[in-house]
């Protein structure tokens, strides 16, 4: 593999890893703070992608679509937390698994009723629809770079939100000791709503920004969900930092696995997971 090719694969794996991080961060944040395991997380990714396709058709602008789509996702997250999830914080994980599995069915059907079962494509915005030439016949699409940039910006924003702001302090306090936080007069219900909406929004944004490079199709959430689980398992559940490291690792192994050993490409990531579990059954960054 020459250098240009290597660079392309490296950028691809970075882009895939960062996208996975957006998804896994929401999943692990919701688990770490509310103790809820959410199988429907992949559905939010799917809904995001379909929203992007639908809104681009209406508004004719991907940026506007993402802004409006994010607002819708936050509202949806808030509504779900308020109506269903808050009643499941103290229930068994098994109940949460079933609840969210039921939601997968509901979301799939709602998607089918609203937008049908067709496969769609979203156009890359005109401004970003060009490539940076690397050699005579190799080039790298700018949109993917911008995607990675957006992911990095959001990850940075998330980090600052959680570690530097007052709200972040309350979120961490709530995760550490719910009763104590509540008795200090902090509205923990509000915090839960915010975190849940944030998680849903992250998944939906991931779906929206990924829609121009991946096709938009029914059931696209389930494979993503499983990759998220792998990331969370490798990183250590509840750890956002672990999710970042694991997502980048998974991105590398998956991308280079496909190039170097295509025979086992589908399984390479799971082998990585098995290897990590062998040495660290609780993941790399168990809190």
């Amino acid at each position: 593999m020459d250098f240009a090719n290597f660079l392309i694969q490296l950028l691809n794996s970075l882009q895939y890893g960062l996208l996975l991080f957006m998804l896994a961060a929401g999943l692990t944040l919701i688990f770490g703070i509310m103790g809820v395991v959410n199988l429907a997380h992949g559905s939010f990714y799917m809904l995001g992608a379909y929203l992007a396709w639908f809104l681009v058709g209406q508004l004719d602008s991907l940026v506007l679509a993402i802004v409006l789509g994010t607002v819708i996702a936050v509202a949806l997250g808030w509504l779900l937390e308020w109506s269903l999830f808050r009643h499941f914080y103290h229930r068994d994980h098994l109940d949460q698994v079933l609840l969210t599995f039921g939601l997968i069915y509901i979301f799939e059907e709602v998607r089918s009723i609203l937008w049908g079962d067709d496969v769609h494509a979203v156009q890359v915005p005109e401004v970003l629809n060009w490539s940076i030439p690397l050699t005579d016949n190799l080039s790298y699409p700018v949109y993917r770079l911008v995607m990675s940039g957006v992911c990095i910006a959001l990850a940075l924003g998330l980090y600052l939100l959680i570690s530097k702001t007052r709200l972040g302090m309350k979120i961490r306090a709530g995760a550490f000791n719910r009763e104590m936080t509540e008795s200090l007069g902090i509205n923990i219900r509000l915090i839960h709503g915010v975190v849940f909406a944030l998680g849903v929004a992250l998944a939906a944004i991931a779906g929206m920004i990924a829609s121009p490079i991946a096709s938009v199709y029914p059931g696209m959430g389930s494979s993503v969900l499983i990759m998220c689980f792998v990331v969370v398992v490798i990183g250590g559940i509840g750890s956002v930092r672990g999710a970042l490291v694991a997502a980048l690792l998974v991105g590398l192994v998956d991308t280079f696995g496909k190039v170097l050993v295509p025979q086992i490409a589908g399984m390479a990531v799971y082998m990585l997971m098995a290897l990590v579990l062998l040495y660290k059954p609780e993941g790399l960054f168990k809190q």
Partner: protein
């Protein structure tokens, strides 16, 4: 968070009565002349197969407190084993294909179990699911293993004994009774196991694993044994499924299949194997009912699942028990 509460270990009279009546009804069903009888025969066979599958999961989920979200992997693997063991031009003998398929599924469960059993709670759920997905993609992505299209089972296994062809699995009624027999056998075996020292240790692990370790039990070995056994029994169900439908595809090992098994166990009631049987029948019935009703059946199914979780966390048998114990007191 605490592990799920198992219930009704010693079955109350009312539930035993339901089981006996159910078994009689199932035994008598092929004798009833019914229009479209063959269709219903096939449907009931499938429900019984899924009941075996659900019971195998209940050994983990209800008895040992290990919620596996990847149990369908072993179900599917045994089905594939039958498909690949069967030669192109002649049926294979049931008497070694069934044990071989179940053992193969058990072996896979032993290997995967070695990794997953070391984890706990929510981790266990995620890791079992991830490993099952690995198996799923192994078959889905490989043309040599049938790919996404799946594989046909060329012939139903041959169940003749020393040339006597009394058990002909090509015959739908015979297959039905064969499945019923296995359902009863697996149920009796698991009930017996539940009250054996091995079963008591598993139940102890569910209640408090730390204490079991402190008392001196090597819980890892016990959990691994339970995981392997559950995998092998799921394999029995998968084998029957493949033999009946004559076709296997990756969906059999998929995420939905695993989640459905969990749902069946919950719906009926966990930890006593009777619930798994009732749950499998009820779940399949509801699904067929919704599918006949509307093409948007997923919406109804999803709502149904959500409602069950919200309102009947102890399952149908839990309701029966509550009802009958209330009457007993009055």
């Amino acid at each position: 968070m605490s592990s799920p509460k198992a219930q009704l270990e010693k079955l109350p009279r009312s539930i035993q009565a339901i089981l006996v009546l159910g078994a009689i009804a199932l035994a008598a069903f092929p004798l009833i002349p019914l229009t479209g009888g063959e269709f219903y025969l096939q449907m009931l066979s499938q429900m019984m197969i899924l009941a075996i599958f659900a019971m195998s999961l209940d050994l983990l989920q209800g008895v040992s407190g290990l919620v596996s979200l990847g149990h369908a992997a072993y179900f599917g693997l045994a089905g594939y084993a039958l498909a690949f063991l069967t030669p192109a031009d002649t049926p294979i003998s049931l008497w070694w294909a069934l044990p071989a398929s179940a053992l193969g599924a058990g072996l896979a469960a032993l290997i995967i179990g070695f990794f997953v059993v070391r984890t706990h709670g929510i981790y266990f759920i995620m890791v079992t699911m991830a490993f099952a997905q690995m198996v799923f993609f192994l078959f889905f992505d490989n043309k040599a293993l049938g790919g996404s299209d799946g594989v046909y089972v060329n012939f139903r296994p041959d169940a003749s004994v020393f040339g006597w062809a009394g058990i002909d699995l090509e015959n739908k009624t015979t297959f039905y009774y064969f499945t019923l027999l296995l359902l009863v056998l697996v149920y009796a075996f698991l009930r017996r196991l539940l009250f054996s020292p091995f079963g008591r240790v598993l139940a102890g692990i569910r209640v408090n694993e730390h204490r079991m370790r402190a008392v001196g039990y090597g819980t890892f070995g016990y959990k691994l044994a339970a995981f392997t056994l559950a995998g092998a029994l799921a394999g029995v169900a998968g084998f029957l499924w493949a033999a009946q439908t004559g076709y296997v595809n990756p969906e059999l090992m998929g995420f939905h299949m695993s989640a459905h098994a969990i749902m069946m166990v919950i719906l009926g009631g966990m930890g006593n194997f009777a619930g798994a049987i009732v749950g499998a029948f009820a779940f399949e019935y509801v699904m067929h009912f919704f599918k006949d009703l509307t093409k948007h059946w997923q919406l109804l199914m999803g709502t149904f699942i959500v409602l069950v979780v919200v309102f009947a966390p102890r399952g149908l048998l839990g309701l029966v028990e509550r009802f009958s114990s209330k009457r007993g007191k009055a």
